[in-house]
């Protein structure tokens, strides 16, 4: 075992896939009542950073990429170097401030520092925007919303008696220590995986069989490229949102049956079906990647959460709203019954470890990535598509893969508090989340809830999907139709 905390394959893959055009950090935007200054926020972060140990650490890369990077303590952590004030012109609108937040989020986090920043945007009357950015590789299987909870309170008065604690960073390891530890860790890691395979239970063998079936679907149902999948994403982003009261969603859910997740996805899929009706996707199918948190337990006890991907597929043929809802409900139920998320997570854990040299610098070294690295990052095929043009003569690879596999967009669920939260005594009046776009995924959705409202946060590359406003309007229209449809139904009548 390593004496350091080493990135797992998934986190290492997230680092490897990040490009200047496609930063892979989570971005949460909280709308705060009143004016909050960076100095006050710094004090709060200092008082609570012991609950966020990763926020005091940075990456140390291993010489010659012998293994994935490890987390080491930041010797010169200055919280004020991670918290920024931005003052816009007076009477800036919320939409203009959100555009500014998008610009802040465009830049990759510097890798020689702890991988987080916080920004306060001033200028919107009576409001401060709190933009919290953290790299996906440091979030340990939860989303940034869970991390933010450590900073928020449920009462307007911040918790009493919380002050910055003394903390002494461990000394930096030297390159020789990192290399020696990597060699030792690689050896024990191989042995550990081999022993796990030997003690494989029948139940887990069945899970792996199901995972193989799931992966087979990628090839048997080739992705149909949407307009926003035409080429790799650029750096610019546009954002639109649609808000629905969660009480209204629950009322419609009770009438249609199924879960809230089913209804939320049915609205989105129907909107996309209508929006793409004229193009090459008309009547074909849509494949979505949904990151989900999987609890992982082994014989030593609870070992925390991992993010796995599930890949529901939906026809885009014309369907009535009830049929659309049924389609989504069946697909979600089938994925749940087959334990697809757990199966894919298990498969990625059992695969031989990814040579870090492939993960770390694959595109520069012009190497083919390992399949399990791709599983580790949820999105095997888009990564290869991205890699294709970078390797000698790799255009054929991109073309081949584009025709046979991949998915169209990610839809991330970010459930939040139903109760009002506070940051440094300022009420959080709303929350927004910006999904990461990468490779040829020029459109993504984060669905979040907070304070009795559900928000579809839609983000796109303006070149690949300039009509994001039109798509947002379609989402709102579809939702209104669902409401109308169920107006006269008795609960559970479907």
């Amino acid at each position: 075992m390593s004496r350091f905390e080493r990135l797992n394959d998934q986190a290492a893959a997230l680092l490897a896939m990040e490009t200047a055009q496609a930063p892979l950090h989570d971005v949460a935007v909280a709308l705060l009542d009143g004016e909050l200054s960076a100095a006050v926020l710094c004090e709060q972060v200092a008082a609570r950073i012991h609950r966020l140990p990763r926020y005091r650490q940075k990456l140390a890369f291993v010489p010659f990429n012998l293994a994935h990077p490890v987390w080491i303590d930041e010797q010169r952590l200055r919280i004020e170097n991670h918290v920024y004030d931005h003052t816009l012109l007076p009477d800036t609108s919320l939409s203009q401030a959100m555009d500014y937040a998008l610009k802040i989020a465009q830049t990759c986090l510097p890798r020689e520092k702890p991988l987080w920043t916080m920004h306060l945007i001033h200028g919107v009357p009576g409001m401060t925007l709190f933009v919290h950015i953290a790299h996906q590789s440091m979030l340990d299987g939860v989303n940034i919303n869970d991390v933010s909870q450590s900073l928020y309170d449920l009462q307007a008065q911040p918790r009493q008696g919380e002050t910055a604690r003394e903390w002494y960073p461990r000394p930096d390891p030297n390159p020789l220590e990192l290399a020696a530890d990597a060699v030792q860790d690689n050896t024990t890691s191989f042995a550990f995986r081999a022993s796990r395979l030997q003690s494989f239970s029948a139940a887990n063998a069945e899970l792996v069989r199901r995972a193989t079936e799931s992966v087979t679907r990628f090839v048997s149902e080739p992705v149909v490229f949407a307009p926003w999948n035409r080429h790799l994403v650029g750096p610019a982003r546009i954002y639109r949102e649609v808000q629905i009261a969660t009480a209204d969603l629950r009322r419609v859910q009770r009438r249609l049956g199924g879960t809230l997740n089913d209804l939320v996805l049915a609205v989105l899929v129907e909107a996309i079906a209508r929006f793409t009706r004229e193009g090459q996707m008309a009547g074909r199918h849509l494949r979505i990647m949904q990151p989900v948190s999987v609890r992982r337990e082994d014989e030593d006890g609870a070992r925390g959460n991992r993010v796995a991907g599930i890949f529901p597929v939906f026809t885009l043929q014309d369907l009535g709203l009830r049929q659309r809802h049924q389609q989504v409900r069946w697909e979600n139920e089938s994925i749940k019954q087959n334990r697809e998320a757990q199966a894919l997570q298990l498969l990625s854990e059992l695969a031989p470890p990814v040579p870090s040299i492939a993960a770390a610098e694959a595109h520069d070294l012009r190497l083919f990535a390992q399949p399990n690295l791709l599983f580790a990052a949820f999105n095997p095929l888009n990564f290869l598509q991205q890699l294709g043009p970078r390797i000698t003569g790799g255009e054929w690879l991109s073309g081949l893969l584009q025709s046979m596999a991949g998915f169209n967009l990610t839809v991330t669920h970010v459930p939040g508090s139903a109760a009002t939260q506070y940051l440094c005594g300022h009420a959080v009046t709303g929350q927004r989340f910006l999904p990461a776009l990468l490779a040829n995924l020029g459109f993504g959705v984060a669905v979040s809830t907070y304070g009795g409202k559900l928000t579809y946060n839609l983000l796109s590359d303006p070149v690949l999907l300039p009509q994001l406003g039109g798509l947002a309007e379609t989402v709102a229209t579809v939702w209104n139709e669902f409401e109308q449809l169920t107006m006269g139904d008795a609960p559970g009548s479907d």
Binding site: L154, N261, R295, A302, Q342, P415, A418, T449
Partner: protein, 203 residues
């Protein structure tokens, strides 16, 4: 679901126990169902809690009659409780209470408590996860957990399972000293808006 069906489900779930788990530091703890014979051990457990812990207990388990009532609820299937034991000593418990009222029969309340020496070693998180699975498997659709807004460790453990703050009730709790506190309620809805997979991956 009838009472007999629920009893069958509880019996099936408890067949998975006892289970040994390791906490940080390497010590082993055994999780097993609570039963009528555990009265003295639970009262002894309560004796290990600090004055601050006792302030916020929902019921006073230092009292034998209260524990007796708890264990009778276990016997009649209204409550399912797991004890964390080191030999004969109880070092923690987790419990899910089903509310027998017809209109709240889909709701279960989860409670977890650990002796001070075993805190911050993963035992509370582990038991929270286990009792969540018990609650899910006995057919409860909505789970709630009560805590004070200051109990940030508990909030983090429940958040990892997908629980979210649902409400803050002001001046709701009066502790043993007569002081008044707010109550935070976190909930998990099996049919709600989630980003979690309910069933854990066991490897």
């Amino acid at each position: 679901m009838s009472g007999a069906e629920v009893s069958d489900l509880i019996a099936a779930v408890l067949e998975d126990y006892p289970q040994a788990v390791k906490v940080e530091g390497g010590e082993e703890v055994v999780l097993r169902p609570a039963g009528a014979a555990d009265m003295a051990a639970i009262v002894a457990f309560a004796g290990e809690l600090t004055e601050q812990d006792l302030l916020f207990l929902r019921v006073d388990i230092t009292q034998q009659s209260v524990v007796e009532n708890w264990l009778s609820n276990v016997a009649n299937g209204q409550t399912v409780s797991l004890l964390a034991c080191q030999d004969e000593r109880v070092v923690g418990y987790c419990t899910v209470d089903r509310n027998p009222a017809r209109w709240t029969r889909r709701v279960g309340e989860i409670r977890v408590n650990v002796v001070p020496q075993m805190r911050s070693r993963g035992l509370g998180r582990h038991m929270t996860s286990k009792i969540f699975d018990v609650a899910r498997r006995i057919g409860l659709r909505k789970l709630i957990a009560h805590m004070t807004p200051d109990q940030v460790g508990a909030q983090a453990a429940f958040a990892r399972l997908g629980f979210r703050p649902e409400a803050l009730l002001t001046d709701y709790i009066e502790d043993r000293d007569g002081d008044v506190h707010d109550l935070a309620i976190m909930t998990y809805d099996m049919d709600g808006f989630n980003a979690q997979v309910d069933v854990p991956l066991q490897v």
